[in-house]
Symmetry: C2
Subunit: 452 residues, 2 copies
C-alpha cells in the first residue's frame, strides 16, 4: 500500500475520550498512602492539591473518560499531530524495518506536555482555582502549564530546578511570554527552599526539591492548587490522546506495530503512546512488544526497587508504590533533563511488574548520536529525552537488517530540541560523557525510603 | 461555512510548480549589471556563483517552473504546511475580521527558508558542486542551507554575522548538527574579513560583509558555489510554494483575502505568500490589498532610494536595481535579524514602483507586543521577523472593529521564535527600545552608491 510520509488526521477525527488502562488490568494497583498515617489516601487527602475532577480521574475505574469540549478547542491549536514514516532514516540504516514516529513537538510548548496541562488547567478553572504552582526540570512542563494557564486566565508559578534555570534561560523566557512567573529552585520563596540555600547558596536543585516547593506554596493558599506533569494516573490518562490518534493513523494505512518503544522519565510520554495499543493487544487485535527506554544514569525501572516512596524530596506528597531510586537520589546531570526523576509512574511500574512491558536503559552518547542521525535524515532536531527512544528504534532496525525481518517499529518523538542546543553542542565537541551510575548513591538514597 | 482551525492539505496536493511573477508584469525588470563593466550581466557573469539551472531560473520568462521530484520528496518532510484561522486572537481583539496565517515554522529549520535551500542544493548537486557557502544573519538561512546540504550530501560553510554568532549560539549548534561549518563574520578565513578584523577585532559584522566573505570563498574554488537566501528572483520563485498552497487552502474553505500582509527583509517570505495571490488578482479572480511591512529601523521600501546598488558591502556582486539604504548602511541592532538588510529584492522593489503593492514600517516594541499577544492566544511564539506582519494584521483587525467591516486578513507566520528568546526577554524586562533611524547615516551610506 502506497501512503505518504505524514499520516494526518482532520480536526474532527480527534478522539473525544481518554483511555484509562487501569480498568483493563487484572490486578488492581496498590493505593497511594497518606504520608502521615500511611493508611490508603482518600480523595480528601488530595483536596488541598488538586481539584475534585482530577482526583476523581486519578481514582476512576471507568475505561474511558470524555474530553471536555473546551479542552478539545485548545487541543485543536495543534492536534491532531502528524504520524511520520521515517523513510529517510530507514534508507540510511539500510533496514527492511519500517519506522514510524508520532511527533508531539508541534505543540506550542514543543512537547507532549500540553496534552495534560490543558485539561488540568481547565478543571481547576471550572472549580474556581485562581493560581497553579508546579515544578519543572528541563522546562518543558513549566512552559506547557504556563501556556495552558494563559488559555483559561489562571496565574502560573513555576519552580525550575536551579541548574536548569541557569543553563536554559530560553525556557524561562518562554514561560514568561505566556505569563508564567518563574523561580529557581531551591528558592527564597519557601521555607524549605530557604533552608537548602542556607546550606548551599549555589544549590543545583532537583525535581524532588522543586516539587516540595511548589506543593508547599499550593497548600498555603485556598485559591491555589498544584499541578504535576507526569507520574500520576490522570496525567498518563490525558496523554493517551497520543496513542489513540496513532491507532487511527496506523489503521488508515493498514499497518500494525510489531514493537513500540518509548522513552520513560516519569512515564507519561510512554504511557500516552503505549496504553491504547496495549488495550488492542489485550483484545487480541495486535501483538506488539512494548518497551520502555530509560537513561542508564537514572534507571528507575531497570535498577530501582519497587516499593512505596515519596514523590518529592521533602516527603510532603502521598507515598506511592513505584520503581524508585529513593526520593533523596540526585541523578547525574545528564542532558535529558526530563528523564531525571527518582521514581517511575506507579501505573507504569505496576504494568512492568505484571510483565506487560519490557525495559532497557541506554547511555547518553548513543542517544545523542541517534539524535544527530535522525536530524540529518528526517530533519527534526529531537529533544534529548526522545533520543533514547530513537536510539532504541535504531537498535531494533539494525537487528532487522541482520535478521531480514520487516518489523514495524513505532515510537513517539515527544518533543523538539530547539531549546536544548547547548547539550548537542557538548556532544558535537566531544565533551559529553556517559555517566556511570553510582550504585552506592542508590543504595544510600534507598536507605532513606520508609519501610512499609 | 463551518471549517476547522487548521486547514490542511495532503501530501499529494502539494503544488508541483513554482510561479514566476515576472512573466505577468507589463513592464520588464531592469537587468542586473556587471560590477566591473556596468553592462547588463550575462548568465556567464553569474557562473562562478551559481549553477546553470539556477541562473536560468533567475532569468526565465516562463510563468511556471516544474519542481523536481527529488525536491518534492524533501519538501514532504514538512510540507504542505498548515493554514490556521486565528480564532482565539480574533476573539481577544473582539474584531469582526477573520485572520488567517500560513505557518512555515513547522519546517526542520523553523522557517520558510528551506523552501529555497532544498532546490538550490539540489541543482548544485546535479551539476557536481561539492560545497556551498553562504552568509546568515539571525541564523535561519544558514541552518536551512545546512539542513538541505545534509539531504544531498554537500558540504556547507556559513559566515554568520559576528554579533549574531555571539548572541545566538543555539543557531550555530543547529547548523553543526546538520553538518554545517560556521564562522563568525568578519572571519580570519578571507582576506576581506582579515582586513576588517585588523581595523576592529570585535567587529560586529553585517549581512553585506558576510555575503562578501561567502562569495569570495565560493569564487576561489571550482567545486564550490554560493547560495543566497533571499533577494534574487529564483529565491522568491521557490518561495511561491507558500502562496500556492495557501490559495488551495483558502479555496477549500471558500474564503478569499481582502488584504495580505507580509514582513519584508530581503523579500522572499513576502513574495512567496503574495505573488500567487497577485496572479489571481491580475486575472480578476480576487482583489486583495497587498502590503509589505518592514521595521522602522531598516525601512528600505519606505525610506530607501530606488537605484542600482551592490548586494554586498565589498561591492563584489552584480549591481541590482532595488530599494536600498546604501550597501554601506549598517542597520541598528534591532531584534528582527532577518529584516536587517540594506536592500530589498529587485522584484519586490519593481512591483512596488509599479504601484502593485503598498508598504508600511512598524517599530519593534509594537511588534513584540503583537508577538506576545499572539503567543498567549494562538500558542505559537513567533520569530521577531513575522511579528511585524502580525502587528500589521492586528492594526487592520482593530480598524475593522471600528468600522464594522468583516475583512479577511491573510498573513504568513514565516517562523517560530524558539531560538530568539533573548529578544523576548529584553522586551519583557522593558529593556527594548524603538531605535530612531539616523537619516544622516542613510544619506552618508547612499553617497557611497555608484551613480548609474
Amino acid at each position: 500500500m502506497k501512503y505518504p510520509n505524514k499520516i494526518l488526521l482532520e480536526e474532527d477525527e480527534i478522539p473525544t475520550q481518554w483511555y484509562n488502562i487501569a480498568a483493563d488490568l487484572s490486578v488492581p494497583m496498590p493505593p497511594p498512602l497518606h504520608p502521615g498515617t500511611r493508611e490508603p489516601a482518600t480523595g480528601e487527602d488530595f483536596a488541598p492539591l488538586f481539584p475534585k475532577a482530577l482526583i476523581e480521574q486519578e481514582m476512576t475505574t471507568e475505561r474511558f473518560v470524555d474530553i471536555p469540549g473546551e479542552v478539545l478547542d485548545v487541543y485543536k491549536l495543534w492536534r491532531p499531530t502528524p504520524l511520520f514514516r521515517a523513510r529517510r532514516l530507514e534508507k540510511l540504516l539500510d533496514t527492511p524495518a519500517k519506522i514510524f514516529y508520532k511527533y508531539e513537538g508541534v505543540s506550542p510548548a514543543g512537547s507532549h506536555k500540553p496534552n495534560t496541562a490543558v485539561p488540568q488547567v481547565y478543571y481547576n478553572a471550572m472549580e474556581g482555582v485562581k493560581k497553579l504552582t508546579t515544578e519543572t526540570g528541563a522546562g518543558q512542563w513549566g512552559s506547557s502549564l504556563a501556556f495552558a494557564c494563559a488559555q483559561f486566565g489562571l496565574e502560573c508559578e513555576v519552580w525550575q530546578v536551579a541548574a536548569s534555570y541557569r543553563a536554559k534561560p530560553y525556557r524561562k523566557t518562554m514561560m514568561e511570554i505566556w505569563g508564567g512567573k518563574v523561580h529557581p529552585s531551591p528558592s527564597k520563596v519557601t521555607e524549605y527552599g530557604r533552608g537548602l540555600l542556607q546550606q548551599d547558596e549555589d544549590h543545583p536543585g532537583s525535581l524532588g526539591i522543586a516539587i516540595s516547593e511548589a506543593v508547599s506554596e499550593a497548600v498555603s493558599d485556598d485559591n491555589t492548587r498544584y499541578a504535576l506533569g507526569s507520574v500520576l494516573n490522570h496525567v498518563l490518562m490525558h496523554q493517551t490522546i497520543i496513542g489513540e490518534e496513532a491507532l487511527l493513523q496506523m489503521a488508515k494505512i493498514g499497518e500494525t506495530p510489531d514493537i513500540l518503544v518509548g522513552c520513560t522519565g516519569g512515564g507519561s510520554n510512554f504511557g500516552g503512546l503505549a496504553f491504547p495499543f496495549m488495550r488492542e493487544k489485550f483484545k487480541g487485535k495486535m501483538y506488539p512488544t512494548v518497551r520502555c527506554v530509560e537513561p542508564s544514569a537514572c534507571p528507575t525501572l531497570t535498577k530501582g526497587e519497587y516499593r512505596y516512596d515519596f514523590g518529592d524530596t521533602a516527603g510532603m506528597t502521598p507515598l506511592m508504590k513505584m520503581h524508585t531510586l529513593g526520593h533523596n537520589f540526585i541523578p547525574e546531570p545528564i542532558h535529558a533533563g526530563g528523564l531525571r526523576y527518582h521514581g517511575m509512574a506507579p501505573l507504569v511500574s505496576h504494568i512492568y511488574e505484571l510483565g506487560l512491558v519490557e525495559a532497557i536503559s541506554i547511555a547518553q552518547k548513543e542517544c545523542f548520536a541517534a539524535g544527530v542521525m535522525f536530524a540529518k535524515t528526517e530533519g527534526i532536531v529531537p529533544a534529548p529525552e526522545p533520543t533514547h527512544a530513537i536510539a532504541a528504534a535504531i537498535r531494533e532496525a539494525l537487528n532487522c537488517k541482520e535478521t531480514g525481518e520487516e518489523k514495524t517499529i513505532l515510537t513517539a518523538l515527544c518533543g523538539h530540541g530547539h531549546l536544548d542546543m547547548s547539550s548537542y553542542e557538548k556532544y558535537l565537541l566531544g565533551e559529553m560523557q556517559d555517566l556511570d551510575l553510582d550504585q552506592n548513591a542508590i543504595q544510600e538514597a534507598l536507605e532513606g525510603v520508609p519501610v512499609i
